[in-house]
Amino acid sequence: MHIVVCIKQVPDSAQIRVHPVTNTIMRQGVPAVVNPYDLFSLEEALRLKDIHGGCVTVITMGPPQAEAALRKCISYGADEAILVTDRAFAGADTLATSFALAAAINQISKNQAVDMVFCGKQTIDGDTAQVGPGIAKRMDMQLLTYVSQVDSVDTTSRTIQVQRRAEGGVQVLTTQLPCLVTMLEGTNEMRFATMDNMFRAARHQLKIWDRVAAGIEDVSKIGLKGSPTVVSKVFAPQAKTQRAEIIESESGEPRDLALTLVSKLFTQHPSASEAVVKQAA
């Protein structure tokens, strides 16, 4: 079985801050990590490999420094890693990104057919959850989103059964391979890399693909040109301040306190007082 896992290197959101004046995200000095949701999908793919054999290829589209994220995935046990990087990809939105990744995965499958593609539910920096479904649509794969558990994969009948979190319950879905799965958080726990895999990761020769290697001819569908999304404004929401008020009465009698409270509420919310009057009548 050949599984491709799509990952993204993202700034560690726990350490990110918004500039108080310019409202832009301050990325400087913020450590980069593998998008946490992607790690659940990688671990799930590695577990399927443990059961059924085969290999796991990790792929990312990003700047050259995304290499560190891929290397990390190798240390967990992925077999191959491909960095799709090209200046032409800069400024891509989810439409252009899913186009580029789908093209790259198509290239991968020319070498060895791809049975499954795993993605995280979404990234923690973009939060759109659109790239996974975008890839599935472009590659004409079955799409299973918000998967909380992969129950089984049958390699002879080429079917997969998963549990999918839906509103109000859990759906148990079965479909044909090849398919694309986006994994929810908390579904598994990433393994602790072995010493051998740490050595392999440190020495691994990553594949670096530019636009041409990824099999993309039409530059109008990638990068800024292929991205109809426009970010018109970024702002940091105002922190809500709720002030507590301590009500006191001179006598300290509960009755007086209650009266003070009621009169205060009625002055602040005249409609409430009207309702009470109506009800009394």
């Binding site: 450590p31 890399a193 072995t194 010493m195 051998d196 050595f199 440190a202």
Partner: protein, 432 residues
Amino acid sequence: MAEKFDVIVVGAGPSGNAAAYTLAKSGLKVLQLERGEYPGSKNVQGAILYSDALERIIPDFRDDAPLERHIIEQRMWMMDDESYMGAHYRSNTFNKPPYNRYTIIRAQFDKWFSQKVQEAGALLICETTVSDLIMDDDRVIGVQTDRMGGSVFADLVILADGVNSVLARKAGFRPELNPGDVALAVKEIHFMPQETIESRFNLSGDAGVVIEMVGKITKGMMGTGFLYTNKESLTIGVGCMLSDFKKQAVSPHQLLEDLKGHPSVKPLLEGGEMKEYAAHLIPEGGYKAIPQIYGNGWLVVGDSGMFVNSVHREGSNLAMTTGRIAAETVIGLAQEGLPFTARNLAAYRTALDNSFVMKDLKKYKNLPGIFHSNPQFFTTYPDLMSQAAQTMLTVNGIDKKSKEREIRRSFTHKRSLFGLMGDAFKMWRAFE
């Protein structure tokens, strides 16, 4: 399959990086293991970089190392609760390249240094803790890491694992840390605009100031405070002997809060935003606390060997120098085809003895003991000095001769003539 290297370096701080870089550059097969997520993620220092030590390893480090400001002014403050009495030295010769000292941010600097180590050909593996040394009789033949299949072998293991050096302790190479031999330092980094720092400290360009502080700020404990200017931030910190913290039951955090609130310090920090808080143990036992630093198949460098000159606030340069000299010793032996036995590795100790490292530490060998048992140097004297200055500088109709008499009396009253002479002798002994 367990791997085998020429040398394994445990730790990617200044000493480990210096050793790994020098070894890898000579063509030896080097593995460096670091427990942090990346080199620098767990490393804490003031932090001042002394150019000389690094220059001897990477001569052109200034080309791309992340440096904050070069130091053109040193201030020494002796403080009581209300005042400081200071000696400042500022010179324009410090403002001409090549600069002698820089402030740095370790998380960035260590990343850069590690990059150089990897470019030199060493294999770095992070997030991996060495739990034990693998021994064959009395010879170290490798390390055991916390990962599955975690044994790695080498002809030599260099312990650059820092002040606590759990490995050296576990292997019985050195005793448990003595609280009287280590200082606990805490520091904060406060961000503020570059212009504010430059106007507040009378600076321009990349020039910087360091302030070293002694006196009542350490509440009678043996220690110092410091304030360094970075590009867009100030580092403020204070450190005292661990045994003193224990005895006085003062929290390091409170000590730093009080220092930040000192009337002479507070205005300097005004308007800054605290972004980072760190604490670290510093080996300050000096010459007498240095353990065995070599044996069959192993060497100790940096903080793990207690190589810190607490008087001159030098540590990272001693770390880099011991790392470099250790590596040079190993390269020498390898070139002659000699095995890494204790007898052959003794050359490391000899080389250190002949370097500034041991010479400086030897010079101050009595100092820690003297200051430790005489807290008056940190409490009574700053008070007396401050009172003396105040008496002389206050114009109030009293004649100067009477004032001098009053100052003399205050000294003999507080410390007695005998005590003063004793203290003078102790100071001479400490710095002889």
